[in-house]
Structure formats: structure tokens, C-alpha cells
Symmetry: C2
Subunit: 346 residues, 2 copies
């Protein structure tokens, strides 16, 4: 699902987003609570009306951004004290607050508050993060007061399969509407991530959504689908789009490159997105070259449509029992990214 950090999928209108085939979007609780605040969103009728998105919305708990963006002052079993990355304000986030804020925002799916340690990470820190995440998940369930919002728990435990399985079982005992796998795509290799996904997904109930947070590259998504994951979110389609990187089945295109100066083909010949229907690579390159906003917008639209087509084809091939064909149709799904994979969430 496309990520809308502070209440919009960057550079793309809801109408354009809907046309890419996207149905569900993600809002970041941390960003929304700093600006404009959950109280303002609630006063304006909740996140759906505020953003003008009539499809499902998921909000994260805010924990990931607190641990990755904010200045952490203190983490205890009760929560986190931190400073806003915007104005340095001293703030607290814990299970109760994360749930109250998400209740106010009013998304369809809300996430339990968890501790997400960076990888690599020693066993003691991991174990403490798992215990806190389980404790906080229970507190979130108790604090949750809008039953029409689904509440998902988040499995932590880094690359330690035993800890992951323990965490998953504890969360299943508490009982959630869906289960997320957190704490991946935070510095580990593709192989490390792939190796733990299968065992984790196996423990999770097959009749509830299994959601891998913040992933990712087509190769990572394919590995996760093979492990049994159902649901993803990622900023890559829009972030890479804004940075002039276009996804295609054959591999990425860097649209600022001189090689596209006279290239009158679209990003992808068989793509039906608004950008591919109307514009040449040469035009897109020109837009980036002169700093026109339309370059980021059109490339984001294409990338969003690319991911929708990729996932739709994966679903078809699963039903046809022919998932291996995906790497023939989408060679990018087995390509190693040629740059250091940046942290995929903001």
C-alpha cells in the first residue's frame, strides 16, 4: 500500500492514486500527531475526510518514526520520551497515547505500539524489545475504544527466529485482527530477511492478514510473498519517483540520464498508467532537468501503477500455481539493487 506520511501520498492526488489501482493507504501517526495533530484531524471529520480518501486507511503507531527520526531521551517499560524532529518539543509516546491518537485519526486499521531496535542488535536488547512490544500490545488492546477499527499486533525479535516465534505466540494469545512483522528492512541483508520470514509467517494464523511493514524492493516483496506474507507498505514508489528513478519490469530507469534525451518511448510500453499513456522518457527527463514538479508527479504515478501491476500479477500466478514465472515476466524481481538500499520508511 502507498505511504502517505503526513496526510497525503506525496505529489499525487487521490484521483490519480485511485487510477493506479491502489485501494489502501498508510498514514504516519508520528507525522500527523506533530502536524496538524490528531485533534485537528478529528475535528475535521477524521483522516478519510481530511485526505479525501474513501478507501481503507492504515495508521502506524508512531513508534518507528520515534525510534528512527526523533531524538530519544528515555525508553522504559512504560514508553518513550523523545524530542520532535520539527521543533525539539519534549513529548511522550506509549501504548495508551499511540492508541488514543490512532482512535482519533480514525483509520480502518491501527497498529499496536512496539519497540523497533536497529539491526544488528544484541540478544538482550532484542529480548527486551520483544517483551516490551508484547506488554505494550496488550495495553493497546485495552486502550482501544473504537471496535470498528481493526487492531494489528507487531512481531519483533530481529533475526532471532526463536524470539520471533515467541513474540508471535504471545501476540496470538492476546488476540489481534491481523499480525504485522516489524523490525525488518532496518539494515539487514535480503538473505537475512528472507531467512526469518518463512518461520515467522508459519506461526501466524492463516485466516488473518500477515503484514510485512516497510518492505520494499520487488525482490524483497517476492521473497516475503513466498514466505506467506499478504500485505506490504512502502514509500519506494513515490520516494524513488521524486528522485527520478522509475521502476520497470526490466529494471530501474534513472530518468535524468542523457540516454533518454531523444527517447520517445514511455517508461514501459505495456504500462497503462497516466504517465505512460501520454509522455515520453525524453519529456520526463526534460521535466527533471528543468526542475518541474510534474516530473516527480508523473514518475510517482508510474511507479505506483508498476507496484499495483506487479502485485496483481503475483496474485494471478499464485492462483495459477505458477509463481516462479514472475521473475521471467518481471526480471526486476530477482535483481540486486545497485545502490545501498536506503531505509525504506520515513
Amino acid at each position: 500500500m502507498p505511504v502517505g506520511t503526513a496526510g497525503s501520498v506525496k505529489g499525487v492526488t487521490p484521483a490519480q492514486l485511485r487510477e493506479t489501482g491502489a485501494t489502501m493507504i498508510l498514514g504516519n501517526t508520528y507525522h500527523l500527531q506533530l502536524r496538524p495533530t490528531a485533534d485537528v484531524v478529528a475535528a475535521l471529520g477524521g483522516l478519510h475526510r481530511f485526505m479525501n480518501w474513501d478507501g481503507p486507511i492504515l495508521t502506524d503507531s508512531g513508534g518507528y518514526q520515534v525510534f528512527s527520526l526523533a531524538g530519544i531521551n528515555k525508553i522504559t517499560d512504560d514508553g518513550v520520551e523523545f524530542q520532535s524532529h520539527i521543533d525539539g518539543a519534549h513529548l511522550t509516546l506509549n501504548a495508551r497515547i499511540a492508541t488514543e491518537v490512532q482512535n482519533k485519526l480514525g483509520a480502518d486499521v491501527i497498529m499496536a505500539f512496539d519497540e523497533c531496535p536497529p539491526l544488528p542488535c544484541d540478544r538482550e536488547t532484542l529480548e527486551r524489545a520483544v517483551n516490551r512490544s508484547v506488554k505494550w500490545a496488550g495495553e493497546c488492546k485495552d486502550a482501544h475504544n473504537r471496535p470498528e477499527q481493526a487492531l494489528f499486533g507487531i512481531v519483533q525479535g530481529g533475526l532471532d527466529v526463536e524470539l520471533r516465534e515467541h513474540c508471535a505466540r504471545e501476540l496470538i494469545d492476546i488476540g489481534f485482527d491481523g499480525y504485522a512483522i516489524g523490525g525488518l528492512s532496518v539494515g539487514e541483508t535480503h538473505e537475512q530477511m528472507a531467512s526469518v520470514l518463512g518461520p515467522i509467517a508459519k506461526v501466524l494464523p492463516v485466516d488473518k492478514p500477515r503484514y510485512l511493514m516497510g518492505v520494499g524492493m520487488p525482490r524483497d516483496i517476492l521473497a516475503a510473498v513466498r514466505a506467506g506474507v499478504d500485505m506490504f507498505d512502502c514509500v519506494l514508489p513515490t520516494r524513488n519517483g521524486r528522485n527520478s528513478n522509475a521502476f520497470t519490469a526490466a529494471g530501474p530507469l534513472k530518468m535524468r540520464n542523457e540516454q533518454y534525451r531523444l527517447d520517445d518511448r514511455p517508461f514501459e510500453e505495456d504500462c497503462d498508467c497516466e504517465a505512460c499513456r501520454g509522455f515520453s522518457r525524453a519529456y520526463i527527463r526534460h521535466l527533471f532537468n528543468v526542475g518541474e514538479m510534474l516530473g516527480p508527479t508523473l514518475t510517482s504515478i508510474h511507479n505506483l501503477r508498476f507496484y499495483q501491476r506487479f502485485m496483481a500479477r503475483i496474485r494471478e500466478l499464485i492462483i495459477a500455481d505458477d509463481l516462479d514465472s514472475i521473475v521471467t515476466e518481471f526480471p526486476i524481481a530477482q535483481m540486486v539493487p545497485d545502490e545501498n538500499k536506503e531505509n525504506l520508511c520515513t
Copy 2:
């Protein structure tokens, strides 16, 4: 008509632009010739295909930007030597080059190359600019080699009515498909501009378009319509939109203001644009507040639609012989802008 400086109306897709009611757009020859160059645009099938705009396009001659943006090295009766504002390259623009470049770009309407002196301006400089503009206009007509492109002459002469009339008569003798009034909105007051428009427009043929270049604010447009002008271009809808200033019939809104924090109304209650159909002022304010691209895009879309509605209503009231009612329906049309009016062309 909305202005697309370097091959796009900034931040707005052709589909969004069409939905505002816009039919004709303007491309700046100076910007397009610097990047990507007219040869590249021609190789890619011309400006319509390059930008994916199937409505009429007008290109200016490039002269205005040379005189306002570039470093001028030398102006003679043969043309202008200048330096690119992008990379300092030494370049020449004259009647023949301006016409050849516009023939390559392939717009529906192209403009004669003229000299546009800043105001105030002494009589001798004005007179020289008029004589050169007339000479160059003739050279443009001779150089023009694509008869399917309409060629417009441009009346210069500053605030000197006698010079303006002389210039207009000379251009009419040469014979053009339409006549533009240039060299206004370059530092003079509203009253000064309004005072010369009537006499100029009276000299111009009623059966050809009369086009006031680079104007402007609703008040200026109304004065020009009253003088007999048929056609306008301006960057204000999109430039002001990017700067968080929204046009409404009742006057401008500065969307960053605190007063809109909880305002759940659209820009204008009776506006049918994509922004007003879906989003509150509070949401637009939030987008600008957090630096989301969607703020400039949605405000530009609204402003473009505002101008289309304003002009459509002017046309209706002219036919109903009731143009004076426009200031009741659109009080902004008699408001004095509360800021120094910036130079309206880029």
C-alpha cells in the same frame, strides 16, 4: 491562457488542466530553446506531442525573457546578443532565429520578435524599440515558413498613445493573423495601463484577436476587456498557487494563515474544481505547512479554474450587455492588490 514556461504548466497534468476548462496554453520559446532546445522538441514530434497537449498552443518569441532574465550584451537593429541565465552561454536572438525556433516548436500561434523596454522609459528609447519591433515583425513574416501556424504582431510604444497607434498601423500594413499588445505589466500602474489600452485596441482590426500579453490580475483583465482586448496569458494562477495564494471571487486567501487551521470549507463554496470538490482549507493549509507538493498542485488547479470561471462569466455578461455586474459577482475584480504586483511573466 495558462502559461507553461518550459514545456509544462507547473505542477498540473494536462488532464487536470483540461478539467479546469483551459483550452489554450503558452510555451516560452526562450526557456524551451535553452532546454531541451527546439531541435529536440521537433525530433520528438513538436510541442503538442512533447507536452501531451491536444489543444491550441501559443509560443512567445523569446524576446521578453531575453530582455528580463538574460544578461544583455548588445542590442542592435539586427537583434540581441545575450548570455543564458542557466549557464552563461553566449547566444543571439533575432527575428529570423525567433521565427525558425517557433516553426520548429510547432505551436498553433507564434509571436513576432519585438523589443520590450522596461517602464518608465524615455521617448527616444521607446521610439527606437517601436521602429525595431516593426522592422523585426516584417522580418518574422518573411522568415515564417509554416503557414498553418498563425503569426501575431506585437504593438510596442510604452505609455505613449501616439507611438502605440503608429506601431499598430505599421503592423497592420504588414498584415498579421492577430495583434498583441506588449510592453505592459512591466512596472506601470493599473491606471496608466488602463489609460492606453482603449486607444490601442481601437486601432486594431476587430476581426482579428487582440491579445494583451502577460496580464494579469482580475482588475487589470477587466479593464482590458472593457478596452476591447480578447485574449490574455498569465502565470498568476499557478505562480500564486505555488506560493499558497488562492484566488476567490471575494478576494485572495493566504493559505498558510493560522485562521484556516480548522476551516472545513473549500476555497470557494460554489467552485466545481477538483480541489474544492474534495478538500478543506484546513487540509490545504496543512499541506503547505508540512511542505507537501500537493498543496501547490491543488491551489494551482483551483486558481486555474477560478480564472476560467471569471472569464466565462465575463463573456456571458458581455453578451447580456451587463458587464458592470461582474464586480458584484467578483468583488476581486475591483480590488487593489495588497502587495507590490510582481512582474507577471517568467
